[in-house]
Subunit: 193 residues, 2 copies
């Protein structure tokens, strides 16, 4: 059974579908020093399972990887500009790398790689991120094989534990919390905005 | 002198001015438990000083306040949807409350309150945020005095220490780091995206 907040999220994705940025959200993690880190990432759909896991991709060379080793909890803030609704999605973020042993997860990593555009795949052959800027020619890389993920290509799976849904439209604004219980059912609590 | 990234931010605010959401950004903090927290807030302009401080407002009853007592570092992720540029702004976040003794900061708190819309001010008389939803009538509050900030009205001032500017347009993408040095000058480093 789908979690109760899934249909709300689907409705927002549908109503904001004319805007490519409606599939972007901000992902917050914590650095090894205990500081917050926050960046925009692309929603790559849901992993097809019962846990409502969201798919994100990243590069093994990215700072996110070290941060998640230290603290695997993350919080997504997803604001839909057309409908004016916000979803804060708190949960555990799992990294699926080239050494992943679980065949289902490794298959998910491969199919996510396959579904990328050529341009998105090429970025995994770019020079090391956040290092001093390389020459333009270093970014002129050939297309990578869609059937064979780059070694540094990682799939991230966020398993939601708590959702804070806010609708700015309406008087007053509407806010509702969804919390995953020990029995894997969702507790729904309307709260003050 | 303005920090070198200020003009880039101004250019984005100008080019995205038709979109009210271009003045919203996502603010990441760390909870007392060490988890990341992330929510959309409104940019209220720069504080008029040499430190390039960004103004945000919040309610003393908000979870942010406790989080900032524990960890005052925060990271803003500001994505401009029209120009496709992202600013990650890391810095220290100071809370200016009703008991603030510094006259300049207290004056800034009062003028920020004065500049709010009636509707925005009224929210500070709403029932406690995140508590079980109160009846609709509890949200029907009278206009608050523009000259006298609500006790629970807080001004937040973020002092930037590091900026990570990414331009998605362009081939390859352009990325540049700006880091505040001990001598209060900014180090500019073009890096790989």
């Amino acid at each position: 059974m789908l979690a109760p907040w899934r249909s709300l999220l689907s409705r927002n994705l549908h109503h904001n579908r004319s805007k490519p940025h409606s599939r972007y959200f901000q992902l917050a993690t914590v650095t090894p020093e205990g500081y917050p880190a926050n960046r925009t990432v692309v929603f790559r759909g849901f992993f097809d399972d019962q846990q409502n896991r969201l798919k994100i991709i990243t590069d093994a060379r990215s700072a996110k990887i070290q941060e998640l080793e230290h603290q695997s909890q993350a919080e997504i803030c997803w604001y839909f500009t057309e409908t004016r609704e916000q979803f804060r999605i708190m949960g555990n973020l799992q990294v699926v790398t080239c050494t992943e042993q679980d065949p289902t997860l490794q298959k998910a990593r491969q199919s996510t790689w396959y579904d990328l555009s050529d341009a998105a795949r090429s970025q995994f052959a770019w020079p090391d991120p956040a290092k001093p800027a390389a020459s333009k020619s270093a970014f002129e890389v050939k297309s990578l094989d869609a059937n064979s993920p780059a070694q540094n290509f990682c799939l991230l799976l966020l398993t939601p534990q708590k959702i804070d849904h806010l609708q700015l439209r309406g008087d007053p604004q509407q806010r509702c919390l969804y919390t995953l219980q020990d029995d894997q059912t969702w507790l729904t609590q309307p709260v003050n905005p």
